[in-house]
């Protein structure tokens, strides 16, 4: 697609999502028809988005295409501006949206067959608005379009969160999501308005120019305001509390979109603010920015995976892993911020760090989307999210199980799949950073690398648990026992993302071409493929030291080929020298008849790590024994264990208590007399005027 056809592409995309939203009207006649048409339109919109993004990414580098929008407001000109960064995130959104649109209709029909047409209409409308708003947030060319689409994205996803099952838990999750998201949006609003007020216009070019002559204090304050706003949306610890509640509550393909894509829009925002809007004209970014992001990312990665380990709700576990992966992305982003324009080696290392972050962005979208869709298949066939009540599904849902295993290997950063590639790049960037910064700074970077290694190991433990308990062994309940394989269209949606995981893992060099435009455009330095795939498309290489010294080069393709060849040889060995058919026999259970109660549970699996990290989890348990007369004969035993989220108990509960105390105090002062209230209003007005007067001076 040539550049000139970009307006057509965006128009087509908007038209498709718009048509999808309108198709909810069809639910008057048939809910099924509305679901089908709505998702088909979303699919068309996603394909159009893919076309637009590929057109920009593979086209002439370094060009930004702007497209004015109709004037809706007298005070601001709305426009779209698609550059490399926008196009890359549009690509990520479109890739997952394609899978979600293929998967969606069958899932919604199978998961909630009793849903009325009103609910189906709402879901179709919200899904299309959600996708459209996400696509246009990253394409926005001015602050107003950005904020409007941002808000639309939040509201539409809220509708989807509360739409699935009408119960109190979902409603509470939705409310918490709304409150947190709007807190974040408020911070963004302040940051944007401070810039627009200086620029006197809303478009990004004017904001960029206005930010050029900011003093460093204001610049840093604005950055931290924006970071706070975006971090809330991205679910960075300690602003993550809404995420593990809201993401599982939504229908599974929407969970895939929220976890895989919506969080990435916040990453887009951070990158846009740090490297583009607020970046100084020349010279490096203030050091406090990058270090903050690096530390936040490291914390999120480790704590996210640690909390995920103790979750037994399949979708909640996946939601916590999103916190972890956002952390890994932010490690790369933070490192790029630290290194940008600060190193003598020509900026290659900052490019490596940013490449790692962007690659992990698309990788996480692929494998997390896949895992959420597979969890959705389990959910719609068993109606159970607690993995302790599942088990034995690999024999009943072989495709879903295989695809989940693939996603699990990918997310645990194990070769030869895509998770390993981006973590390898992150490690290389960290190592390079550590060898450049001497002293405490280098030590922080190295510590962050060690934490990243810990994160990978814990993620592998977590997914061994999630896959083993859910899919292997014996079914623990009749829900699991009577499960059947998911419909073909759902498997097709998953297979699309699985193919992406494999392709990005085995031949990542080709994806680097797509990262050229965002890295070169953002850092004004060397492009991703020039740095990382300098030795050919099948080889990834980085130089830790100054250029010229021996770098490190690996080839995922050759390793994958080696693995396949060795597996074929091992398969021959596995058949053995005696070609007798395998016998089957029951598992030895110490002489008792084997039942599902012999299977190791998820709680038991995670127990050693719960004790090792007890300082963090503060685990509590209550065991109630019912004995029959003597303590030696147990009739029943009841176990309940809880693990706390430290940021929840240490921060949010305190804030909540503070608000309660404050509102009690206010209630004591509210006498019910109108004069008193008028007095308060006058007092508030006086203080406001006073502050305004001070500010004017």
């Amino acid at each position: 697609m040539a550049f000139s056809s970009l307006p057509t592409g965006t128009l087509l995309m908007a038209a498709c999502y718009g048509a999808g939203a309108l198709s909810s009207l069809l639910a008057r006649w048939s809910g099924r028809l509305a679901l089908g048409v709505g998702h088909l339109a979303a699919l068309a919109g996603a394909v159009a988005g893919l076309g637009v993004s590929l057109g920009v990414l593979l086209g002439e580098p370094g060009r930004t295409l702007t497209q004015p929008l109709p004037d809706l407001f007298p005070f601001a000109r709305l426009s779209l501006a698609v550059d490399g960064l926008s196009a890359f995130f549009l690509l990520v959104i479109s890739l997952v949206a394609i899978a979600a649109a293929i998967y969606g209709p069958a899932y919604l029909r199978a998961h909630s067959p009793g849903a009325g047409p009103a609910r189906q209409a709402a879901q179709v409308l919200a899904l299309n608005v959600f996708l459209g708003c996400m696509a246009f947030v990253v394409c926005a060319g001015d602050a107003l379009t950005f904020l409007l689409c941002w808000e639309g994205m939040t509201l539409a996803s809220y509708v989807l969160v509360v739409s699935d099952d009408r119960n109190g838990e979902n409603a509470r999750a939705g409310l918490l999501y709304m409150v947190m998201a709007h807190g974040g949006t408020a911070l963004l609003l302040v940051a944007f308005l401070a810039l627009t007020e200086r620029a006197g216009a809303f478009d990004f070019a004017a904001l960029r120019a206005a930010a050029g002559d900011l003093d460093s204090m204001t610049r840093t304050t604005l950055f931290f305001l924006a970071l706070g706003g975006f971090a809330t949306k991205a679910g960075v610890i300690p602003l993550h509390v809404w995420l593990p509640r809201a993401h599982p509550a939504a229908p599974s393909h929407v969970s895939a979109l929220m976890s895989g894509v919506m969080l990435k829009v916040a990453i887009y925002g951070i990158l846009r603010f740090a490297f583009d809007l607020l970046a100084p004209v020349a010279g490096p970014l203030p050091p406090s920015w990058g270090w903050t992001v690096l530390v936040l990312g490291t914390t999120s990665a480790v704590l996210g995976v640690l909390y995920a380990l103790q979750q037994h709700d399949l979708k909640r576990l996946l939601a916590f892993h999103s916190v972890e992966n956002i952390g890994i992305i932010l490690i790369g982003v933070g490192l790029a911020m630290i290194l940008w324009r600060r190193e003598s080696a020509g900026g290659a290392l900052a490019t490596v760090a940013l490449t790692a972050a962007l690659l992990h962005t698309v990788n996480h979208a692929a494998f997390k989307g896949l895992l959420f869709l597979a969890a959705g298949s389990v959910l719609c066939r068993t109606h159970v999210r607690n993995m302790e009540e599942l088990g034995g599904l690999a024999r009943r849902m072989p495709w879903t199980a295989g695809l989940f295993l693939l996603g699990a290997v990918a997310i645990s950063a194990l070769p030869p799949l895509n998770g390993f590639v981006s973590e390898w790049l992150t490690f290389q960037a960290l190592l390079g950073g550590a060898s450049r910064f001497h002293g405490p700074a280098g030590l922080v970077i190295v510590f962050s690398a060690a934490m990243l290694a810990l994160t990978g190991g814990l993620a592998a433990a977590c997914f061994a648990k999630a896959f083993g308990v859910t899919f292997l062994g014996r079914p623990r309940t009749s829900h699991a026992e009577h499960a059947t394989e998911a419909p073909a269209s759902m498997i097709a949606g998953m297979a699309w993302l699985a193919a992406l995981c494999v392709a990005l893992g085995v031949a990542p060099g080709y994806a680097m071409r797509l990262l050229d435009a965002p890295t070169a455009g953002l850092l004004h330095g060397p492009a991703a493929s020039a740095v990382v795939t300098a030795k050919g498309p099948l080889v990834l290489s980085t130089a830790l030291m100054a250029p010229g010294t021996d770098g490190t080069a690996i080839s995922m393709t050759i390793v994958a080929a080696l693995l396949i060849a060795l597996a074929a040889m091992a398969w021959v060995l596995r058949r053995g020298l005696r070609s007798s058919p395998p016998r089957t026999a029951p598992t030895w259970t110490c002489g008792m008849s084997p039942t599902a109660r012999f299977d190791y549970t998820a709680t038991a699996f995670a127990k050693p790590l719960r004790l090792v990290f007890a300082a963090l989890y503060r685990p509590r348990r209550a065991v109630i024994r019912e004995t029959a007369g003597t303590p030696y004969v147990l009739r029943r035993i009841h176990y309940a264990g809880v693990v706390v989220d430290l940021s929840e108990t240490q921060i949010y509960h305190r804030v909540q208590r503070g608000i309660t105390v404050l509102s009690r105090t206010i209630r004591l002062r509210s006498t019910g007399r109108i004069h008193g209230y008028i007095g308060f209003v006058l007092g508030a007005l006086f203080v406001a005027l006073l502050l305004f007067g001070v500010g004017q001076k």
């Binding site: 690999a394 024999r395 072989p398 199980a401 295993l405 290997v409 645990s412 390898w424 190592l431 060898s435 910064f437 002293g439 280098g442 190295v446 060690a450 290694a453 810990l454 990978g456 190991g457 814990l458 592998a460 433990a461 061994a464 896959f467 083993g468 292997l472 062994g473 014996r474 030795k535 830790l544 030291m545 021996d550 770098g551 490190t552 080069a553 690996i554 080839s555 050759i558 390793v559 080696l562 396949i564 060795l566 091992a570 060995l573 596995r574 058949r575 053995g576 395998p582 089957t584 026999a585 598992t587 030895w588 259970t589 012999f598 299977d599 190791y600 038991a604 050693p608 790590l609 090792v612």
Partner: protein
């Protein structure tokens, strides 16, 4: 600096590691037996065990899914692939890019992950218990191992093991600094954990109270078990080879037959020394309680962090 290693050499080294893996186990077993004043089996016993396993039929748990049969295949393939990344006969990067130390650790982690997943499939409590313990220890070992690798990689500027060894060269062994001593100390602490030996794990027992790795193999049988056992022999020699490449990069420079023989002799000597170390540790210490292991690994973490700090500061 030595030259590059050709494809044939890399494959030869990989095959050599797989073939010699059981021998290292045999030597350690023999040494242990002699230290305990027993005669012990011959050092070729592991080969006989493997030959017997590959001749036997398979019994599979009735609850196991289709994944169960492919687990040993994949575990063996991943472990052997890791073996291709270790320089054995000569230092120097492979002539074509393959993988570095991070890839090696990743492949070993893949093998471990698949073993743990397979342990769930039979539906017995022992498998799950073994998997749970193994996956508790592994995430604690991995970051420390990574830091030891980083402490040498920061000095050499690459994480590719062959290039790392070549960069340092043989004379470097005489110029060990404090960071090297500390890194090596951390590595010695980690070795028993990574090879599944006392004081972290006990390879000779099938008691549910003590086992980690063996617990996951209980339900495998016949050639499948053979693959898993061969994989753990290979894993052991690969780990020892990693230590040798990081800390004793002694190798002949040339590519002639005599140089390769010299390299092979040097490698055998290095592995033998480390095997004797493992046997000594295993004979003189008791297995730690599972919840003591994190503290034990903490020693390694402190050593590795200090080594890294000394390199960077």
């Amino acid at each position: 600096m030595t030259g590059e290693r050709e494809l044939g050499l890399v494959l030869l080294e990989m095959i050599l590691l797989v073939l010699l893996g059981p021998l290292v186990t045999g030597i350690i077993q023999k040494l242990k037996a002699r230290l305990q004043c027993r005669q012990g089996a011959t050092i070729l016993q592991p080969y006989r065990d493997l030959a017997k396993l590959f001749r036997k039929g398979t019994v599979q748990a009735d609850t196991a899914s289709g994944f169960f049969r492919s687990i040993p295949v994949l575990v063996l393939a991943a472990t052997v692939a890791a073996g291709a990344l270790v320089p054995v006969l000569r230092a120097g990067p492979p002539a074509f890019p393959l993988g570095d130390a991070l890839m090696l650790l990743g492949l070993l982690a893949l093998a471990r992950f698949l073993t743990a997943v397979g342990a769930f499939d039979a539906g017995g409590a022992f498998g799950g218990m073994g998997a749970s313990r193994e996956m508790t220890i592994a995430p604690l070992v991995e970051p420390v191992l990574m830091m030891v690798v980083f402490s040498t990689a920061v000095a050499a500027g690459t994480t590719e093991l062959g290039a790392l060894a070549a960069h340092r060269g043989t004379p470097w062994i005489l110029a060990w600094r404090a960071a090297d001593f500390l890194g090596f100390a951390a590595m010695l602490v980690l070795l028993p954990a990574e090879t599944g030996r006392i004081p972290v794990d006990n390879p000779d027992t099938h008691l549910e109270l003590t086992m980690l790795h063996e617990g996951m193999l209980l339900e495998h049988s016949g050639p499948g078990l053979g693959c898993m056992v061969l994989a753990s022999h290979t894993r052991q020699i690969v780990t020892l080879g990693l230590v040798a490449a990081l800390f004793f990069p002694i190798a002949a420079d040339g590519a002639g037959a005599a140089d390769l023989l010299l390299g092979a002799g040097a490698f055998a000597a290095k592995i033998l020394v480390l095997a004797i170390f493992l046997a000594l540790v295993e004979s003189s210490y008791a297995k730690l309680r599972l919840f003591r292991v994190p503290q034990y690994l903490g020693i390694g973490f402190v050593c590795a962090l200090t080594a890294l700090a000394l390199r960077i500061l």
